[in-house]
Each structure stands twice: as structure tokens, then as C-alpha cells.
């Protein structure tokens, strides 16, 4: 069956595995920046351990060097690029891991909604698998 749903987003980037979480968020950030710089829109679906990136920390977790934390970077990007960037914190993965609350304003779809987000995107790319 041909998908007739108009694509609202250019790319759905599914990021899983902590390999692209705390250790290498820089690469995910570069992909986001590349999309925005080239006039594209992108949603990131955080899968598995990656959901820890946007948890509300009990204590301010700003980097020692004064750089904004990953959660602050994501929050800032969402605010700055409304409609062209979004971060989706998977509720299913978060609950399985007993994660705390996510930073305010992030959609928290369940895994059952993933297909809807795939259909809204012209392309889906999965990174972080082993």
C-alpha cells in the first residue's frame, strides 16, 4: 500500500544505544545542525538509554566547563527551531528504565506511536544499533 500521508518532516532520526547518548551526543548534535543548516526539518526519536539525556536532573548537571548540558542544548534547539526540530522522548523506554520526568515541553509518545511518526517523515534513519 502506498503511503499517501503528506510528510511533515524531512527526517526521523531514531537514536538508540548509549553509544550515541552521553558519550557521543556530539555526533547527533552535528546531524541536527547539518539538517537545520541545510534547510531541512528533523525529529529525533530517543530510544532506550538515550532518554536519559533529557531527564530533569535533581541537581543542576551543567558541565564543569560551563557549557550547557545536553538537556539544555536540546531544550534550546526545540525552542529556537519550532516546527523544524523536535525531540521525542519515548515514554515506553523511559518507563522501562524507571526514568524521571523529561524536561518540559518534550512530546513523550509511546512506542506504539512510532509508526505514525515514521509516516509523517519523508525518510527514517536508525543510528546507534550494534
Amino acid at each position: 500500500m502506498t503511503d499517501q500521508t503528506p510528510h511533515q518532516w524531512d527526517l526521523l532520526l531514531i537514536v538508540t544505544n548509549d553509544r550515541y547518548g552521553s558519550d557521543r551526543f556530539d555526533t547527533v548534535r552535528r546531524l541536527i545542525d547539518t539538517a537545520l543548516r541545510n534547510g531541512r526539518s528533523v525529529q529525533v526519536w530517543a530510544c532506550g538509554e538515550v532518554n536519559g539525556l533529557t531527564e530533569v536532573a535533581p541537581v543542576e548537571s551543567c558541565c564543569a566547563n560551563g557549557e550547557p548540558s545536553t538537556a539544555e542544548q536540546i531544550s534550546g534547539l526545540v525552542a529556537e527551531h519550532d516546527g523544524r526540530f523536535n525531540w521525542l522522548a519515548c515514554r515506553t523506554c523511559s518507563e522501562e528504565r524507571g526514568a524521571g520526568e523529561h524536561i518540559p515541553g518534550l512530546p513523550t509518545p509511546s512506542f506504539a506511536n512510532l509508526g505514525e511518526y515514521v509516516n509523517r517523515s519523508a525518510k527514517t534513519v536508525f543510528i546507534g544499533g550494534v
Partner: protein, 131 residues
């Protein structure tokens, strides 16, 4: 073509693929290697698969993060991709972060950044496999 014939054709360079002269090269697949090369005495099955694909259809490979190490430590597989018509690029920032000298890359491997491959990432017609 039997697999042994195919392997021979790939190894000899008799099977070629790539751009149509005068047209921008749009690969059928864009393969991203982000993981460290296998240990000594083993091979990267991902890059070997890329070599076989490159012999059949236009295939681009991008090495990023620890994957740039493949350009040095999986030299034969990377060179094989280029030999069979594939295009291999290595992320300049990842090379720099790991102290890999671009002059040490196999012939035909280009240094690029994410902007240079953005069209492949976003083109719905290009299949992306990120390893």
C-alpha cells in the same frame, strides 16, 4: 553469476559501477560505518558487504566516529570498495579527533564533512544504513 564468479569479478575490478557521465552521482545506498575496525586478523563484514554492493549498484560509504579507523586498519576492505566503483569518504573531524593523518588514507578515499553528505542523508531515494 555464481558467487565465486562474482567474487572473482569484484576482486579483478571487472565489475564496475558509479556515476553516469554528466549527471550528479546519486548512490542507491549510503552506508555509514561508525564503529571501530575489527581486531587484527579479522575483517569488517560491513565493509565487505559494501564492496559487494558497490560492484552492483552505486554505493557511497562514509566513515565517521570510530569508523574512520577502518580507513587505516581495514585498508584492504576500504580499498576494495573504491576499486569496485564505490565512493568512500571519511569525516574530517573524526579523523582529527583521533589523530589520523589524511595522507595515510587509502588512495581514492576523500576527506569530507557532514554537509558534503547531507543530500544523501535526506534524499528519500537513497537507502541509509548506519552501522
Amino acid at each position: 553469476m555464481r558467487s565465486t564468479d562474482f567474487d572473482s569479478a569484484v576482486q579483478s575490478g571487472a565489475v564496475q559501477s558509479g556515476a553516469v557521465p554528466g549527471r550528479p552521482r546519486v548512490p542507491a545506498q549510503f552506508l555509514v560505518e561508525s564503529q571501530a575496525p575489527p581486531g587484527p586478523g579479522t575483517v569488517s563484514n560491513f565493509l565487505r558487504a559494501a564492496e559487494h554492493l558497490a560492484a552492483r549498484t552505486p554505493t557511497d560509504v562514509f566513515l565517521i566516529d570510530d569508523g574512520v579507523g577502518c580507513a587505516v586498519h581495514a585498508h584492504d576492505e576500504v580499498a576494495g570498495i573504491v576499486r569496485t566503483g564505490g565512493r568512500v569518504r571519511a569525516d574530517g573531524r573524526s579523523l582529527g579527533e583521533r589523530g589520523i593523518d589524511p595522507d595515510k588514507l587509502p588512495p581514492g578515499v576523500e576527506v569530507a564533512d557532514l554537509d558534503a553528505v547531507a543530500d544523501h542523508l535526506f534524499d528519500p531515494a537513497v537507502r541509509v544504513v548506519w552501522h
